[in-house]
């Protein structure tokens, strides 16, 4: 039997959501001579109780996190060093009895992860900017927003459908309401629906998620009321197809080639169906405006659509279209956050290039 570990300590794993205990030890005296192959950890809820194996660690390890504890329950731990000859065989009970015991220790959840304090500081700075500029906008200060070509074309696209007497299709992506891109997509839908109601053009919104169906219906209904045409709203305008990504794409493709809408909007989160949808719309000659934050799908929209909102342009769209002070202030606040990031990048590059200070560690995030 190899000599037992020199010491063993246990503690509740810090900065976690509970359910874990960290065990540390000093290696066995036999480690250097190669007499230890693995360390096997045992756990019990009483000092003299039956110890059960909870895991093992390689010979040079000195830490083990037991992630299977129940919060509030006291545990005791033992570590048994095993030579190579004992691997795969049951550990003799006498070896477990002879091992040092550490404890009691109990796991608990922490309210705050101190290793991520930099994220909190960053979010707070951003919030300060946003609140400041929202107040400025509310106080009547004019906030400038540059032209975004894709959004300038929204009126033109709806007008074209009206002139041609054809439908407008609005595709809010394939993700659910817990995705910020879908939220941005249905927000823009409100503006498009309002225009469609004013121009008396039929707007069709096929969706792939039940929550998006409910939200989109509410938004379109409200937009029709806002435009003074609540009578023109039909519940079936917003309808469910399927949750399945390619089933949804197949359904829309079929509808598009049969009904030949004049205008198609793709606003939200898309995956592999993006090119299938955009190419079908392109083949029937529809004017297409897309917007997504999915980097891998943007190339397809850029290639197959008339206008594409790239990444953050999609999120800026609601402020751009509505010109509401709250949203404009928020956009300006975010821009100030970006300015701060640009400054940080310049300062950081200089400091690191000339070896003055490891600036990038301020942005290190532990997941």
């Amino acid at each position: 039997m190899p000599s037992v570990v020199a010491s063993i300590t246990v503690e509740d794993t810090p900065n976690d959501g509970g359910g874990a205990v960290t065990v540390r030890w000093e290696v066995s005296a036999d480690e250097l001579s190669g007499g230890v192959n693995r360390y096997v950890l045992y756990r019990s809820t009483s000092q003299d109780g039956a110890f059960e194996e909870v895991g093992d660690a390689t010979s040079n390890a000195t830490t083990f996190i037991d992630g299977s504890t129940e919060d509030g329950v006291s545990y005791y731990y033992k570590i048994v060093p095993l030579p190579k000859s004992m691997i795969g065989q049951p550990t003799p009970p006498a070896w477990v009895d002879a091992a040092r015991t550490a404890g009691p220790v109990s796991s608990s959840a922490q309210w705050f992860d101190w290793r991520r304090i930099n994220v909190l500081v960053g979010v707070l700075i951003l919030c300060v900017f946003i609140i400041y500029y929202i107040n400025q906008a509310k106080a009547g200060k004019k906030l400038f927003i540059r032209k975004i070509a894709g959004l300038e074309a929204v009126d033109e696209a709806v007008g074209r459908a009206t002139e041609m007497g054809k439908k407008i299709y609005y595709i809010p992506g394939t993700q659910d309401m817990d995705n910020v891109q879908t939220i941005a997509g249905v927000t823009i839908l409100g503006r498009v629906a309002e225009l469609a109601a004013q121009y008396e053009t039929y707007l069709q919104v096929p969706v792939s998620r039940s929550l998006v169906l409910v939200t989109a219906r509410e938004i379109v209904k409200e937009a029709y009321s806002k435009a003074g045409r609540p009578d023109a709203f039909q519940e079936d305008q917003v309808h469910y197809l399927t949750d399945d990504q390619f089933g949804y794409a197949a359904g829309i493709d079929g509808m598009v080639v049969r009904e030949k809408p004049a205008t198609i909007f793709f606003m939200g989160a898309f995956y592999a169906e993006s090119l299938i949808l955009a190419e079908t719309g392109n083949s029937i000659g529809a004017i297409q405006i897309a917007g997504t934050g999915m980097p891998s799908q943007l190339p397809f929209f850029v290639a197959a659509c008339d206008y594409t909102l790239i990444g953050e342009e999609l999120f800026a769209a609601s402020a751009y279209l509505s010109r509401e002070p709250k949203l404009l202030g928020s956009l300006k606040g975010q821009d100030m956050g970006k300015a701060l990031i640009l400054i940080a990048i310049i300062v950081g590059l200089l400091l690191e290039t000339f070896g003055i200070w490891n600036f990038s560690r301020l942005f290190s995030v532990i997941q």
Binding site: I145, P295, E352, V365
Partner: protein
């Protein structure tokens, strides 16, 4: 054996039906499309029911029991009554079916949108801001000015690309003069990235096509063994 062959023939029929859309819209495609949409909607309904309503909610609130060696019926886990909050929100969504109190479903929507926006803020800020800034800040010429020309050029491209790309996404300033030039460089970087991404993704999509052709030639026609 018969049913296996039957399933392969049905799958081949549907695969070819979907591909027939490449020629033009036709009744065969319409049939396959309707089957695809209908079956997938039903499949997802059943999957979501068993995964969420049964697997998460029912099993979570009423954990299954087993009989131990003493003959006692014991629970396999503690009931998680927090799940009832989700159940109530789900029921509020169903109130849409009752027009008079349908407005209550907005509470659930507000909760979902608000809670997820807050929840993801930290994740997005960590991954899309902090981590990207950290990866951009580096010694341009190596930690001891010993980097190769290849590495130096790579570092400069990353730094300039990030910097100018970020400038393109400034909305509260007109893209004119030096600022406008930087934004143009930024969009140039974006377009080059999109071009590379386009080629890469098209190649990965080809594997989907190859998968279906492999099915037709091997499983259905048996031409490839």
């Amino acid at each position: 054996m018969f049913w296996e062959h039957f399933a392969v023939w049905v799958a081949a029929f549907l695969t070819l039906g979907i591909y027939s859309f490449l020629y033009k819209d036709n009744p065969w495609y319409k049939l396959c499309e309707s089957i695809f949409v209908g079956i997938s909607a039903g499949y997802w309904f059943v999957t979501l029911f068993w995964d969420n309503i049964y697997g998460k909610f029912w099993v979570g609130v009423f954990p299954p029991t087993h009989v131990n060696e003493l003959g006692e019926s014991v629970r396999t886990a503690q009931p998680d009554y927090w799940l009832l909050v989700g159940a109530v929100l789900g029921l509020l969504m169903l109130l849409r079916l009752v027009p008079k109190i349908g407005w209550l479903s907005r509470w659930s929507l507000a909760f979902i949108v608000g809670a997820t926006a807050g929840f993801y803020l930290i994740n997005y800020f960590s991954s899309n801001v902090m981590r990207q800034v950290q990866d951009t800040i580096m010694p341009l010429f190596g930690s001891g000015f010993d980097a190769s020309a290849y590495v130096i050029i790579g570092n400069i491209v990353v730094a300039v690309g990030t910097f100018t790309g970020l400038i393109y996404f400034f909305f509260s300033k007109e893209h004119r003069g030096a600022f406008g030039f930087s934004a143009k460089v930024g969009i140039f970087f974006l377009m080059v990235t999109f071009g590379a991404s386009f080629g890469y993704t098209v190649m990965s999509r080809m594997s989907l096509l190859i998968g279906r052709i492999d099915f037709l030639l091997s499983d259905w026609l048996g031409l490839i063994r």
